[in-house]
């Protein structure tokens, strides 16, 4: 069981890093990056394991952020219930959008999700409770379970970390389960999965709902971190950002999206003073990733790092599928 032990080392090392990080780095930055990391992981569940590229995930991220911000601020819900409300709404939206969108694949799927996200954006602009382009501001962080105040940056950080680990754990568990195996089978060969008797559509909807709910968890948490829900959370560039994060980190590599999120967030932080250079550099990274680096950072260096190198995981003998399909086999 070398692999399990390796995975354990991995997890332990990263969690240790995450625990000490706020003493070295600005906690708000870390919280922001963790929220985006969870968002990217949720997105990758759909892209990397079902092979569906959604161009409208901002709808769930931002939609949940609005619900949490509103319920916490206007109704005075405690943070955990506010987040729960956000996740529930995101999941419900995911069920409706998913049910409609999974009828199509590839570019059509991307376009339908984009269309739905634009509708949610419109709703966010027009609905009275969202505050238009001002967003919902000054959202109180409140007391967790009525006891622990989240106003201190460190407390909030560990709360966010916990949210991230829960979300990440759910994704990891889902991928390793029989459910995850079926998803991969659908990605690799949908007709065969159908002929094997799997109700492919139900699996896809379930994956879509899960992905939407976790994207919602990320958005809800972000709303509490920044005490803010804003239009840019539901706008389509947010959907583009999450694609970029996943792509640069590695599609279908559970840790890739996390790394990608940290890189993009760090870059946006660094280059905030330089005007549109952020856009230009992001564009260049996009192009480079697609042209030469399609498996992303973790996708490329990951296979070097396993204990026993199975031929399939060794670079150079990578199966051809990884080169042509958007979602390389895990």
């Amino acid at each position: 069981m070398l692999r399990d032990r390796a995975a354990l080392c991995w997890t332990a090392g990263l969690i240790a890093l995450a625990l000490i990080a706020p003493f070295v780095l600005y906690p708000v930055f870390l919280m922001q990056a963790l929220c985006w990391a969870l968002f990217a992981c949720a997105f990758d569940l759909l892209l990397g394991y079902v092979g569906l590229l959604s161009f409208g995930h901002a709808a769930f991220f931002g939609g949940a952020a609005y619900i949490t911000a509103y319920t916490v601020k206007a109704w005075g819900l405690p943070p955990e219930l506010g987040i729960l409300a956000g996740v529930a709404v995101a999941a419900a939206m995911g069920a409706v959008f998913g049910w409609l969108a999974i009828r199509r694949q590839g570019i059509y799927f991307a376009m339908i999700t984009l269309a739905f996200a634009q509708m949610v954006y419109f709703f966010a602009v027009e609905a009275p409770f969202t505050g238009g382009e001002d967003g919902i501001q000054a959202v109180p962080r409140g007391h967790l379970l009525g006891l622990i105040s989240l106003n201190h940056p460190l407390t909030m950080y560990y709360f966010v970390l916990a949210m991230f680990l829960i979300g990440f754990g759910i994704i990891a568990r889902a991928i390793d389960s029989p459910f995850g195996q079926v998803l991969k089978a659908i990605r690799e060969n949908e007709p065969r999965a159908i002929s094997l008797g799997y109700r492919v559509d139900q699996y896809k909807i379930l994956a879509f709902v899960l992905s939407a709910a976790l994207a919602g968890l990320a958005g809800s948490t972000k709303a509490l971190v920044f005490q803010f829900a804003a239009l840019s959370d539901v706008d389509w560039p947010t959907s583009g950002d999450v694609v970029l994060m996943t792509l640069i980190g590695g599609v279908g590599t559970s840790l890739g999206p996390v790394l990608g999120a940290f890189i993009i967030m760090a870059m946006e932080n660094y280059l905030a003073q330089t005007g549109s250079w952020v856009t230009i550099i992001e564009g260049i990274i996009f192009v480079l990733c697609v042209l030469t680096f399609r498996r992303g950072i973790v996708g490329v260096i990951g296979p070097y790092l396993t204990f026993r190198r199975s031929p399939a995981e060794t670079p150079g003998t990578t199966p051809t599928n990884a080169e042509t399909s958007l979602a390389p086999p895990a």
């Binding site: 409609l100 376009m111 419109f122 005007g275 856009t279 080169e323």
Partner: protein
């Protein structure tokens, strides 16, 4: 906000005027979605950079006028050629390398290119945009009785109809068009006949880019020549193409004009929703007729 219920039926002249205005906007949608459709037909990619190429066309006209003193009419020819060449370079340098991959990579690559082009122009020219005046020949307006139609807008309708008609003619009635259609159906077979398919692909992308640039020049005198003009229009044009049926020439043109009109009507009854109505229609069409109104099933 949600006040559309209170809006009374507009009087007939205003109604006719709105119809005409919708048709003008539809002209832009039609030319842009036509280019997207041609590119999609042969390359199978959604060209996210189309908005950026449209913006390049408008800037090209502005460069020609303010640097070289070249008039609008010449720009209407030069800008599409120049941007067409840029398009061919993009195809050769980037898109060809990923031609054999999942087509979603094409979407992502062109998305990245659009970010770069928009970013560079924003860095260089800010975003409030450059003025470009209406050519002297087309200034002024004509009184149609029910409305005051600016002559330039009339020209936009004429020009966009003409461009769509010419493109349709080239594709349906000429040898190169026949090759294009054949290559869309079965590239291997066309190659077997000794046709240089890669060159055809390059030319096609160039032609799509040229159409976008033409729309850009057409837009320059009415809208501000601004780095943001492409970003603002691209998602709408996507929706138009999807509604028309991806890759369908006729579908792109008809739905371009039709959606311009529908959008125009929305601006009267529920102006706040005018940017969203197209997406609602797109979602409905995809659900009822997934291949689009004029697309082949598949």
């Amino acid at each position: 906000m949600f006040s559309f219920l209170h809006v009374a039926m507009p009087p007939l002249p205003l109604f006719l005027a709105q119809l005409l205005v919708g048709l003008i906007n539809g002209g832009f949608y039609a030319i842009l979605s036509l280019g997207l459709a041609i590119i999609f037909g042969l390359l199978n990619i959604i060209n996210f950079a189309h908005g950026a190429l449209y913006m390049l066309g408008a800037f090209c006209a502005w460069f020609l006028l303010s640097w070289l003193g070249i008039s609008y009419w010449a720009a209407l020819l030069i800008a599409p050629v120049a941007v067409g060449l840029v398009g061919m370079a993009i195809e050769r340098l980037f898109l060809r390398r990923i031609a054999r991959l999942d087509h979603l990579y094409g979407l992502l690559l062109t998305f990245g290119l659009a970010l770069v082009i928009d970013g560079v122009f924003r860095q260089l020219y800010g975003s409030s945009g450059m003025p470009y005046s209406i050519p002297a020949e087309l200034q002024g307006a004509t009184d149609l009785g029910f409305m005051f139609l600016p002559n330039y807008r009339a020209w936009v309708i004429v020009a966009s109809f003409a461009v769509c008609a010419v493109t349709w003619f080239v594709i349906e009635r000429t040898r190169i068009g026949a090759l294009l259609r054949a290559a869309t159906e079965n590239p291997e077979l066309v190659r077997a006949f000794g046709i240089n398919v890669p060159r055809l692909v390059t030319l096609t992308y160039g032609a799509g880019a040229a159409l976008a640039a033409f729309a850009g020049v057409l837009a320059a005198p009415i809208y501000q020549v601004s780095p943001l003009m492409g970003v603002n229009i691209i998602t709408v044009v996507f929706a138009v193409v999807v509604i028309g049926g991806m890759g369908s020439i006729l579908g792109a043109v008809i739905s371009g004009f039709a959606l311009g009109v529908i959008e125009g009507m929305t601006k009267v009854f529920w102006p706040e929703a005018s940017t969203t109505v197209i997406f609602v229609i797109m979602a409905l069409v995809l659900l009822v007729k997934p291949a689009g109104l004029f697309g082949r099933a598949g």
